[in-house]
């Protein structure tokens, strides 16, 4: 079992332009788990993930709602191999379509009436690609609604990134995105965020500069030399009828022309910091992330009781 991605905000998602940002203005997300939706609006604008390098068979959980002020269609999820888009979950607000890019055109493999206009839906996409007899399915609220067997998914292989497009003037919210090589049906993604000082802060500025819901690059924390660590207390929902499967930390981060060029993301359990592998930074903002499927302090599965006292942060690397 591997989780390849977890996120519902800018970091680890990245915006194509200023038409993509978090939104709390309309109720297109589940407040029991998320503090906002990732709002994509205006033609051709999209949110996209860092490189994920997915296997040929995987599941994607997500929640989505279409904003009804426009007459636009929405590509809620697009699977891309580098810059080539090969599969999408597409909606006009009343019907959802699964489409693959076959022989230079988008071909509908299956569809179902699924209301998304001002209606939040929990969905799970299953893909078995890299085959002329591939399989794709879409589950809604845990129920299989669309299935295409023997579908030509030859081009759906080596998926590197997910994108979420708005194709007109309206837009949509997408949230709680989880990618795994096991069924994601029933899974939820809760967002937690810095809300206090942690045990160490070698970086300039404080948790208050990285805690925002709607991303802003005006305030930030910074590190001028390698191996500086910052840890912050965090808060957010802990749902009562669920149990933890994995913990992820992500940052909207960049480097300068000189100084630290890399980053490690971290969690602090009890009195020990645990860091991810080194993530390379660019001079433009990216969305490095790390997923801990087990508690690094115990090497065992996470316990729900361990979440509230976790600290999250990062270490600058030369």
């Amino acid at each position: 079992m591997t989780f390849y991605f977890a996120g519902g905000e800018i970091a680890p998602w990245m915006p194509s332009d200023s038409n993509v940002h978090e939104a709390t203005a309309f109720a297109g997300y589940d407040t029991n788990f998320a503090r906002c939706g990732l709002f994509v609006f205006s033609g051709s604008s999209f949110a996209f993930t860092p490189d994920l390098n997915l296997p040929d068979e995987f599941y994607i959980h997500f929640a989505a709602e279409r904003f009804t002020s426009g007459s636009n269609t929405e590509s809620l999820l697009v699977l891309a191999t580098g810059s080539t888009e090969v599969f999408q979950v597409y909606t006009d607000g009343t019907t959802v379509y699964l489409k693959a890019y076959i022989a230079s055109s988008w071909t509908t493999l299956g569809s179902a009436v699924i209301p998304l206009n001002s209606t939040l839906q929990d969905m799970d996409l299953y893909i078995k690609g890299n085959s002329a007899t591939g399989i794709c399915r879409l589950y809604v609220s845990g129920t299989k609604r669309i299935e295409a067997l023997s579908a030509d998914l030859s081009a759906v292989t080596g998926i590197q990134t997910l994108r979420s497009y708005s194709m007109g003037s309206g837009g949509h919210n997408i949230s709680q995105i989880i990618v795994a090589d096991e069924p994601t049906i029933g899974m939820k993604l809760a967002t937690r965020y810095p809300n206090g000082a942690g045990a160490v802060n070698d970086w300039t500025n404080s948790y208050a500069d990285v805690d925002e819901t709607i991303y802003s690059d005006v305030d930030f924390v910074s590190s001028s030399s390698a191996n500086q660590v910052a840890m912050y207390a965090q808060t957010g929902p802990i749902p009562s009828s669920y149990t933890v499967r994995a913990v992820a930390v992500s940052a909207r981060a960049k480097c300068g022309a000189s100084g630290p060029q890399n980053l490690q993301l971290g969690v602090r359990v009890a009195s020990t910091n645990y860091f991810s592998t080194t993530k390379a930074l660019d001079v433009g903002y990216g969305g490095p992330f790390n997923i801990w499927q087990n508690n690094p302090a115990t090497s065992a599965a996470w316990l729900d009781s361990e979440i509230s006292t976790l600290q999250i942060g990062m270490k600058s690397i030369a």
Partner: protein, 57 residues
């Protein structure tokens, strides 16, 4: 006649943003992946959910 220099506008500008020699984080987020199940402190079993049913005959 006295020569003059006229200045009709003066503008000062400040460049604001991260320094060129720093790594910068502008937002940090933690996500928890949850599965249905009582948060009893026992890890979730990822392999199966077992349902029992008593049938009266």
């Amino acid at each position: 006649m006295t020569a003059t220099v006229d200045v009709s506008k003066v503008v000062g500008s400040a460049v604001i943003g991260p320094k060129a020699d720093t790594a910068t984080v502008s937002k940090l987020v933690m996500y928890i992946i949850y599965v249905p199940g009582s948060p009893t402190g026992t890890p979730a079993n990822p392999q199966a959910q077992v349902y029992s049913q008593i049938v009266k005959v």
